[in-house]
C-alpha cells in the first residue's frame, strides 16, 4: 500500500505546528523521520495514525483520497502505530494482547482460545519470536511487549507500521532483535515509518530519511546520499550568531560552590559529575528524556538518587528534601510551571512571598500583610511585572510574567545557587530577552546558575560552560568558546 500526503498542516488554537508537508511512503521501505523536539514529526505521525485530524491537506492511500479520523479507522485501513511505551494489558495473556478488539464473534460468543493461541504462535514465529502465547503479559520485558504490539498489528494485516522512537527504551541487544524483525517486515512489503534520534540506527536500518524543522518538512533524501553532518545541519538550520558571554566573578575567582560526584539513579541517569562555580552559568543541553531534569531534581532533593555524592560549599551534604536545599540556599525553578511552579488560585503577592514565611510573619506566625506587599512590590517594579495589583490571582498573568514572579519568589530567599529548568518555555520573545538580562545580572552578582534548556541559542548566548547529556550520562562538557550548535547536537545525539 502506498501512502502519499499533500500539504498536510496542523494548527492548535491558531498556532501552526505543522505546515504543508508532502510526504510519500513506498511499500517495503523503512522511512526515518528526524528533527529536534517540537519539529513536528510526532504531530505528523499522529495525523497519519488517526490521533489528530489535519487542519489542511489530504492523505492518499494507493492514490485514493482517504480520511483517517480515529486510531481505529487508521488500523482498519492498515496503518498501525507502535507506541514508544507499549500499550499492553498486563493481566491478560500474550495471545489476548495480540487479538484483543478483533477476535471473532461478539458479546457472549466463546473466545476460541485454541484458534487465537495457534495464530499468535504463528505470527510470533514468523517474526522469529519464541514466546508462549498463553503466558501472562505481566513480567515480560518492554522489548517483548513492543514485539507483541507489532504482532498485534500484523494480526490485523497492517501494511504500514509507524514506530515512534521504538528503540529508546531498549538495550543494544534488543535493538538488534527489533531491527531483524523490521528487515523481515520489509521483505513482506510492509512500509515502516521510523522515528529516532539516533543517527547510527537510522543509518543501519532506514532506506530514506525525511528531516523536519520548526513544523516544516525540510527535505527527503536517500540515506546513502546524505551524511550525518548534513542531517544535523538540516535539523538545526543556519548558524546563529553567537553573542558575547561575559566573563565575570566566575573567571576571576573560580570558587566551587556545588560539586556533584558520580551521581547515579539507576533507572534515570548515571555517573553525573560536575562543578558549579560562584557566578557561573552552567548550561545543561540534551534532548528531552536525556535525564537533565532528573539530575536537577535529585540535587534539589525532590527526587531520590541511588549513589554518588553532593558537596555544597565544600561540605558533603545529602539533600534529602527540597526544604533542606532551600534553607541551604539552593533553589529549583521547575520546568512545568503550571503544575509545580505556581499556586494558581493565590494572589501574586502571596505566591512571591511564599518562599520566605519568616520575613512576612511575626513571632507567633501571624502574617503581616504590609510586609507581603512591600517585599513583593520591590520585584514587581524591578522586573516590570505586568499586573493590575499585587492581589491579582497569579494564574491570570501571562506565562512570562508568571515566570518572573517565580524567579522573584526564589530571589527573595536570597539563594546562592539557582537551578532554572527551561525558564523561557512558553514565554514570548520580549519577556525572553528580559529574562536573559535577569539571568546575566544574577550571575554578575555572584549567583551560581544551572540553566537547563532545549533551546541551543539560549544556552550558547548565556552559559559559560555547557554540559551535554545523552541518555542519562554526560557525553561532553564544553567551554562556551569551543561550543556551537553542531557540536552540541553531535554530542546530544548518538
Amino acid at each position: 500500500m502506498q501512502l502519499l500526503t499533500k500539504n498536510i498542516g496542523k494548527s492548535f488554537s491558531g498556532v501552526n505546528v505543522l505546515r504543508n508537508v508532502d510526504f510519500d511512503l513506498i511499500p517495503g521501505e523503512v522511512h526515518a523521520l528526524v528533527g529536534e523536539n517540537g519539529a513536528g514529526k510526532s504531530t505528523f505521525v499522529k495525523i497519519l495514525s488517526g490521533v489528530y485530524a489535519p487542519t489542511s491537506g489530504k492523505i492518499l492511500l494507493d492514490s485514493k483520497e482517504t480520511e483517517i479520523n480515529t486510531p481505529i479507522a487508521a488500523q482498519k485501513k492498515g496503518i498501525a502505530l507502535i507506541h514508544q511505551e507499549p500499550q499492553s494489558f498486563s493481566h491478560l495473556s500474550v495471545a489476548e494482547n495480540i487479538f484483543m478488539g478483533h477476535m471473532e464473534g461478539k458479546f457472549f460468543s466463546r473466545v476460541r482460545w485454541q484458534n487465537i493461541n495457534n495464530k499468535s504462535k504463528e505470527i510470533l514465529n514468523s517474526i522469529g519470536l519464541n514466546i508462549d502465547p498463553k503466558k501472562i503479559m505481566e513480567g515480560l520485558s518492554i522489548a517483548d511487549q513492543q514485539m507483541i504490539e507489532i504482532a498485534g498489528a500484523l494480526s490485523k494485516n497492517s501494511k504500514i507500521l509507524i514506530m515512534d522512537e521504538p528503540t529508546s527504551p531498549l538495550t543494544p541487544n534488543e535493538v538488534n532483535k527489533l531491527f531483524k524483525i523490521v528487515s523481515q517486515l520489509k521483505k513482506r512489503g510492509i512500509a515502516i515509518v521510523f522515528i529516532s534520534h539516533r543517527l547510527e540506527e537510522i543509518r543501519s536500518i532506514a532506506d530514506r530519511v525525511t528531516i523536519f524543522r520548526d513544523g516544516d518538512k525540510i527535505i527527503t533524501k536517500n540515506i546513502d546520499s546524505i551524511s550525518n553532518v548534513e542531517i544535523i545541519k538540516y535539523m538545526i538550520g543556519r548558524d546563529l550568531k553567537k553573542t558575547e558571554v561575559s566573563e565575570n566573578i566566575y573567571a576571576k575567582e573560580k570558587k566551587v560552590v556545588l560539586s556533584v560526584k558520580n551521581l547515579t539513579s539507576y533507572s534515570k541517569f548515571r555517573d553525573i559529575s560536575f562543578d558549579l562555580h560562584k557566578g557561573e552559568i552552567l548550561g545543561f543541553a540534551g534532548l528531552v528524556g536525556a535525564g537533565r531534569t532528573d539530575v536537577a531534581k535529585s540535587i534539589f532533593g525532590s527526587e531520590k538518587y541511588d549513589s554518588g555524592q553532593i558537596f555544597l560549599y565544600g561540605n558533603k551534604t545529602k539533600n534529602e528534601s527540597p526544604h533542606n536545599s532551600i534553607s541551604r540556599g539552593l533553589v529549583y525553578l521547575p520546568e512545568d510551571r503550571k503544575q509545580m511552579g505556581i499556586f494558581g488560585q493565590v494572589a501574586v503577592e502571596d505566591n512571591m512571598t511564599s518562599s520566605v514565611p519568616n520575613l512576612i510573619s511575626n513571632a507567633f506566625g501571624i502574617i503581616n500583610k504590609k510586609n507581603v506587599t512591600s517585599l513583593s512590590k520591590n520585584y514587581i517594579e524591578k522586573f516590570k511585572i505586568i499586573l493590575t495589583s499585587g492581589r491579582q490571582l497569579i494564574e491570570e498573568l501571562s506565562g512570562g510574567n508568571q515566570q518572573k514572579c517565580i524567579i522573584s519568589k526564589w530571589l527573595l530567599s536570597n539563594p546562592s545557587i539557582l537551578i532554572l529548568d527551561e525558564p523561557t518555555r512558553g514565554v514570548d520573545i520580549g519577556v525572553k530577552s528580559e529574562m536573559y538580562d535577569i539571568i546575566k545580572q544574577l550571575s554578575q552578582n555572584g549567583t551560581a546558575i544551572i540553566l537547563i534548556s532545549s533551546e541551543l541559542p539560549e544556552i550558547l548566548s548565556l552559559a559559560h560552560r555547557i554540559v551535554v547529556m545523552r541518555e542519562g550520562h554526560i557525553s561532553n562538557t564544553l567551554d562556551h568558546k569551543n561550543a556551537s550548535q553542531e557540536i552540541i547536537m553531535q554530542n546530544a545525539i548518538n
Partner: protein, 328 residues
C-alpha cells in the same frame, strides 16, 4: 523453598489456606462448629451475598465500584413485595424476572451517570446509595412488607425445591456463579471487561467500546442485586425500608477484594470471589457458635478481614517475585 513457591503460584490457594486456618481454628475451640446445622447456616447465608458479589466483581475488575447495591436490593425487594400484595399468585419465575429488570434499570442509571458525565463511580454510587434508599421510603410509604404479604411459594424458594429438596436460592445462585465464570473466562465480552480494567487507554485504542462495557457491568451488577432483593424477601420473610440491605455493600465489596480481585482493575476470578464470600460466611457463623459476645463479634470480624487482606497482599507480592515481574 521450591515447593512452597509452587504452592504460591496458584492465586486462589492463598484465600483457601486462610479458610482452612479459620475452620480448623474454630473447630479446635469448639467442635460444634463442624455440625450440620452450622454448615447449613453458612450455605444459606451465602447465596444472597454471592449473587451480589458476582456483579460487584465485574464492576471492580472494570476499575469501578458500586456502593449503591444495598439500596438497589432494598428497592427491588420493596417493589416485588408490593407486587405480591396486589398479585399474590405471581410465579417465582415472574418474580425473578421483575426484580432482575428493576435492578438492571437502577444499575444502568449508575452506569449512565458514570459514563456520560465522567464522574468517578465512588461518588456516583455514593449519591445513588442515598437516592435509591430515599425512593424505597417514597414507594413504600415507609411501611414494611410483612411475612403474611409474601406468598408461601416464594418463602419456600429459600427452603426447598423439587431437586433433592435443595433450597432454590442455592440452585439459582450456583447457576449464576457458573454463568458468570463462563462469561468472564471464556466469552468475548468477559475478556473485554478484563482488558478495559487492565488498561482503559489501550482498550480504547484497540477499538473496544469502553462505554458499552461500563454500562454492561453496572447493568449486570444492578440486575444481580435486584435478584438478591427477591432472595432477601424469600429468606427473611419481610422487607423493611430502613433495614433491608443497609451496609451489605461493605460485606460484598470486602468479600470480592478478599477473594483476590484487584481494586486497580484487570484481575479477579469467580472462584476467588466465591472463596472470599465463603470465608466471610464461615466467620459470620463461627463467631456466635464460639460464644463470642455480640459486642466483640463485629470487631473480630473486622480484624479478620484486614488480616486476610494483608496476608493476600503478601502472597501476591511473593508471586510477583517468583514470576520475575519488574512491577513488584
Amino acid at each position: 523453598m521450591p515447593l512452597f513457591d509452587k504452592f504460591l503460584r496458584i492465586r486462589e490457594l492463598g484465600i483457601l489456606s486462610i479458610i482452612l486456618i479459620v475452620v480448623i481454628g474454630a473447630s479446635i475451640i469448639d467442635i460444634r462448629f463442624l455440625s450440620y446445622d452450622s454448615w447449613r447456616a453458612v450455605l444459606l447465608a451465602i447465596p444472597l451475598i454471592l449473587v451480589m458479589a458476582m456483579g460487584q466483581m465485574m464492576v471492580i475488575i472494570c476499575r469501578h465500584v458500586d456502593i449503591s447495591i444495598g439500596s438497589i436490593l432494598a428497592f427491588s425487594a420493596i417493589i416485588i413485595g408490593l407486587v405480591f400484595i396486589q398479585f399474590p399468585n405471581t410465579s417465582l419465575l415472574a418474580a425473578i424476572f421483575i426484580t432482575a429488570i428493576v435492578g438492571a434499570f437502577l444499575g444502568l442509571v449508575n452506569g449512565l451517570i458514570v459514563t456520560k458525565f465522567n464522574v468517578h463511580s465512588i461518588i456516583v454510587t455514593l449519591g445513588t446509595l442515598s437516592l435509591y434508599r430515599g425512593l424505597v421510603f417514597i414507594v413504600s410509604g415507609g411501611r414494611q412488607i410483612d411475612r403474611n404479604d409474601i406468598p408461601l411459594h416464594i418463602i419456600s424458594f429459600s427452603q426447598t425445591s423439587y431437586i433433592f429438596s435443595i433450597p432454590g436460592i442455592l440452585i439459582l445462585s450456583t447457576v449464576i456463579v457458573l454463568l458468570t465464570h463462563l462469561i468472564m473466562k471464556h466469552s468475548i465480552i468477559g475478556r473485554e471487561i478484563y482488558a478495559t480494567g487492565s488498561n482503559p487507554t489501550a482498550a480504547h485504542l484497540k477499538g473496544i467500546n469502553v462505554t458499552k462495557i461500563t454500562l454492561f457491568v453496572f447493568g449486570v451488577c444492578g440486575m444481580l442485586s435486584g435478584i438478591a432483593g427477591l432472595f432477601y424477601a424469600s429468606r427473611f420473610g419481610y422487607v423493611n425500608p430502613g433495614v433491608t440491605g443497609v451496609g451489605i455493600e461493605f460485606i460484598v465489596i470486602a468479600g470480592v477484594i478478599i477473594g483476590g480481585t484487584s481494586i486497580t482493575g484487570g484481575s479477579g476470578s469467580v472462584l476467588g470471589t466465591f472463596l472470599g464470600i465463603l470465608l466471610l460466611g464461615i466467620i459470620n457463623v463461627a463467631l456466635p457458635v464460639l460464644n463470642i459476645p455480640g459486642g466483640y463479634q463485629k470487631a473480630i470480624y473486622g480484624i479478620i478481614i484486614v488480616a486476610a487482606l494483608a496476608l493476600d497482599q503478601f502472597i501476591i507480592y511473593r508471586m510477583k517475585i517468583i514470576r520475575g515481574s519488574k512491577y513488584v
